[in-house]
C-alpha cells in the first residue's frame, strides 16, 4: 500500500511542487498550510512522513517541530525539514531557540535547503520510507 506524506508549507508554489514530486513517486500527498493544520492532519491521517517548512508565519512550523519532537507518540514519525535557510542558521535562529527554551534543538532526520531538485527530494523521501 502507498505511504502517506504530509507537506506542511505556507507557500502554495512549494506545496504544489512537493505534491507533484510525491505523486510522481507513488506516494499519497497530504497538505497543510500551517503548523496548526499540520498537527490536525497528523493526528487524523497518520502520515508516514512529514515534509515541514519551519519558517512559516506565527512560528507555527517551529512549534509543530517542537511538539512532534517532544511527544512520545510522534517521536518515531520521520521529518524532512524543507526550508529556505541553511541548517546552521536554523539551529541558531532566535525564534527556534526561544521555542526550545534553552533545551538542545534536536537535529531533523533530513534537512533540505530550498531550492531542491525533484530527484533529491524523492530520494530523501525514499530513504525514509523505502
Amino acid at each position: 500500500m502507498s505511504k502517506k506524506v504530509l507537506v506542511v508549507d505556507d507557500d502554495p508554489d512549494v506545496r504544489s511542487f512537493v505534491v507533484t514530486v510525491l505523486e510522481e513517486n507513488q506516494y499519497i500527498p497530504l497538505i497543510a498550510q500551517d503548523g496548526v493544520e499540520g498537527l490536525e492532519k497528523i493526528e487524523k491521517e497518520k502520515p508516514d512522513l512529514v515534509i515541514l517548512d519551519v519558517l512559516m508565519p506565527r512560528g507555527s512550523g517551529i512549534r509543530l517541530y517542537h511538539h512532534l519532537k517532544s511527544h512520545e507518540q510522534f517521536k518515531a514519525l520521520p521529518i524532512i525539514m524543507f526550508t529556505g535557510i541553511a541548517l546552521r542558521s536554523f539551529l541558531k535562529s532566535q525564534k527556534v531557540l526561544d521555542e526550545f527554551q534553552g533545551a538542545e534543538v534536536p537535529k531533523p532526520d533530513i534537512y533540505l535547503e530550498k531550492p531542491v531538485d525533484p530527484e533529491v527530494l524523492a530520494a530523501a523521501v525514499r530513504k525514509k520510507l523505502g
Binding site: V14, F17, R58, G84, K114
Partner: protein, 511 residues
C-alpha cells in the same frame, strides 16, 4: 627631663660637700671628685651634663682636666673656679674652651647664674641639634621627592604618545622626546640643544608658531589643529597639534608643541567608512539574494510541474505549473520595477483621478487572498472626496504595499483568537490633505522593527519579502509632496497614514 647631673671637682673636700648640698637642694644631681684624675674617671663613668672644677689642684689640675674633657666632648659645659687675679690660668682656660668662670670663694648665687647659663646653652645646643637633624631629614626627603618628580616628568615626556617639542626663549630645542624623533625623523642627539625651530620645522610651520607667539601675546594655549607635516626625509604625516606658550613670573621662557600622529587614525577612518559601506551593501545584497532565491524556488518548482504535465499529458499539472511560473515571473517584474523606482528620481504624473476607484480596485484584488487567511478587508470612505489631481500610480503602489503589509501582519499575529481586520479609511484632514488610512489589528512592531522600516531590504518575512515595499512607497509619497505616518504597538496592530496634498481640479492654464 631628668635632673641635670653636675660633676664637682675640688681637692678641698669640704667645699665639694657644701656645693653638692646646695646644688642638690636646688634640684640638681651631683657627683664629686677630689682630684683631676678622679674627676676624669668620674666624668667618664657618670657623663655629667656640666662640670664645675677648681683650677688649682695637686696632680692633674683643673686646666688639664678641662683639656681632657674637651678632648672627649668639645661641647661639654665646663665651669672653672678660679682664685682672684689668676689671669694667666683664666686665659688658658678660655683657650681650652671653658664655658664660664666663677671666683673663689664660690658663692651660691654666682654658681647658680653660671649653671643657668650653662643649662640654657645646653638647651639651645640641643634645639639646634634637633633642628639640624630634622632639617637634614627634610632636605633628604625633598631631594628624593624632587628627584622622583623630575624622573617622573622625564618618563612622562619620554613615554608620551604625543611628540613633544619644547623651545627655550631663543627658539632652541630643549625638549625632544622619542615620539618626536620618530615623527620628524631626526635623532635626539642631533636636535636637543643643537637645532632651533627653523632647523627642525619647515619654514612655514616654524614661522607660523613664531608669529603665533608674537601676535597673540595674551594667549597661552593654542587649541588642537590638524595639519600635514612634511618631514625633512620627504614623508608627509597628518598630525593634530597644539602649542602652549610658557611663562614664568610673566616672562616668556619658551614654547612647547604637542603633535599626534594621525596616520593610523586616518587609515582606520577610511577603513571604517569602507567597511560600513560594504556592510550596508552586503545587507542589501543578501536581502535581495534571499528574495531572488525564493523566486527561483518558485520557477524551478513550476517548471518541474510543467514537465510532469507534458510527460503525463496532464492538463491540470500543466496549468498549475504554468500559473506558478507566471506568478514568479511577475515577482521578478515587480522587483525590477521596485528597484528602478527606488533608484531613479521620478516626477509624479499628475492627472485627474478618483482615489476611491483605486481603493475599490485594490480591495477587489486582495479580498480573496485576505479571506483565505481569515482576514477581513473593510473600507470606510469619505463620500465628499471625488476626483483629485494626483498620480494614480503612486496611490495604487503605496496602498497596495501598505495593505499587503497589513494583511501579512494579521497572518503573522500569534493571537489567533482575534478577529483580524484591515480597515481602509479616507478623509480630508485639517491641513487640507487627503488622508488614506490603513489600520490592522495584526502583530504590530517592536521598537527595533519600527526603526528599521525604511532601510533597504529590511524584511521580517525572510525570502518572502523584498524589504523594498515601504522604501519605494516612502519615496513615491515624498516625490508626491506627501507624508507617511505610522502608529504601531506590538501585539495590538499598526496604522499607516498616507497624506497627499488635496487638489480637486486641474489648475487652470494661466491666460
Amino acid at each position: 627631663m631628668s635632673a641635670f647631673k653636675i660633676l664637682i671637682v675640688d681637692d678641698e673636700e669640704l667645699i665639694v660637700r657644701l656645693l653638692s648640698m646646695s646644688l642638690r637642694s636646688d634640684g640638681y644631681q651631683t657627683v664629686s671628685a677630689f682630684s683631676g684624675e678622679q674627676g676624669l674617671e668620674v666624668f667618664k663613668s657618670e657623663s655629667p651634663d656640666i662640670v664645675v672644677t677648681d683650677i688649682k689642684m695637686p696632680g692633674m689640675d683643673g686646666l688639664e682636666l678641662l683639656k681632657k674633657i674637651k678632648e672627649i666632648d668639645p661641647e661639654k659645659e665646663v665651669i672653672i673656679v678660679t682664685g682672684h687675679g689668676d689671669i694667666d690660668s683664666t686665659i688658658t682656660a678660655l683657650q681650652y674652651g671653658a664655658s664660664d668662670f666663677i671666683n673663689k670663694p664660690v658663692r651660691d648665687a654666682a654658681l647658680a647664674i653660671a649653671l643657668e647659663r650653662a643649662k640654657s646653652k645646653i638647651a639651645i645646643r640641643k634645639k639646634l641639634e634637633e633642628y639640624t637633624t630634622t632639617l637634614e631629614i627634610k632636605i633628604a626627603e625633598a631631594t628624593e621627592e624632587i628627584r622622583r618628580k623630575s624622573n617622573f616628568q622625564r618618563l612622562l615626556i619620554t613615554s608620551s604618545n604625543d611628540a613633544i617639542v619644547a623651545f627655550d626663549r631663543d627658539w632652541k630645542v630643549v625638549v625632544y622626546n622619542p615620539e618626536a624623533a620618530r615623527l620628524f625623523g631626526e635623532a635626539a642627539k642631533d636636535v636637543r640643544n643643537k637645532m632651533t625651530i627653523d632647523d627642525l620645522y619647515t619654514p612655514k610651520i616654524a614661522k607660523g608658531f613664531k608669529n603665533q607667539v608674537k601676535d597673540e601675546k595674551d594667549q597661552r594655549n593654542f587649541p588642537w589643529k590638524e595639519q600635514v607635516i612634511h618631514t625633512k626625509d620627504g614623508r608627509q604625516i597628518p598630525v593634530r597639534y597644539a602649542s602652549n606658550v610658557l611663562f614664568e613670573n610673566n616672562e616668556f621662557v619658551g614654547t612647547v608643541n604637542f603633535f599626534q600622529d594621525l596616520t593610523e587614525i586616518k587609515r582606520l577612518e577610511k577603513e571604517l567608512v569602507q567597511s560600513e559601506r560594504l556592510a550596508a551593501v552586503g545587507q542589501t545584497v543578501s536581502g535581495l539574494a534571499h528574495y531572488v532565491k525564493n523566486i527561483l524556488i518558485g520557477l524551478k518548482g513550476g517548471s518541474y510541474i510543467v514537465d510532469v504535465g507534458i510527460q503525463n499529458n496532464n492538463t491540470e499539472k500543466l496549468k498549475s505549473g504554468w500559473e506558478t511560473i507566471k506568478k514568479n515571473i511577475k515577482r521578478i517584474g515587480d522587483l525590477t520595477q521596485d528597484l528602478l523606482t527606488y533608484s531613479k528620481q521620478r516626477e509624479p504624473e499628475m492627472e485627474l483621478c478618483s482615489p476611491h476607484d483605486i481603493i475599490n480596485e485594490l480591495v477587489e484584488l486582495l479580498k480573496g487572498f485576505a479571506a483565505s487567511k481569515n482576514v477581513l478587508l473593510s473600507k470606510d470612505l469619505d463620500k465628499s472626496i471625488d476626483q483629485v489631481m494626483a498620480d494614480p500610480k503612486t496611490i495604487h503602489h503605496a496602498l497596495l504595499n501598505i495593505i499587503n503589509n497589513a494583511i501579512d501582519a494579521c497572518i503573522e499575529d500569534e493571537d489567533i483568537t482575534k478577529k483580524h481586520e484591515v480597515k481602509i479609511l479616507t478623509h480630508i484632514d485639517k491641513n487640507h490633505m487627503i488622508c488614506f488610512e490603513v489600520a490592522d489589528n495584526g502583530c504590530g512592531m517592536d521598537e527595533d522593527t519600527r526603526n528599521k522600516l525604511f532601510t533597504p531590504m529590511f524584511s521580517s518575512k525572510g525570502g518572502k519579502g523584498t524589504g523594498l515595499g515601504l522604501l519605494v512607497t516612502g519615496k513615491l509619497i515624498e516625490e508626491h509632496k506627501g507624508i507617511i505616518e505610522i502608529e504601531t504597538s506590538p501585539g495590538v496592530g499598526s496604522t499607516f497614514r498616507v497624506k497627499l496634498p488635496y487638489t480637486k481640479a486641474k489648475p487652470v492654464d494661466g491666460n
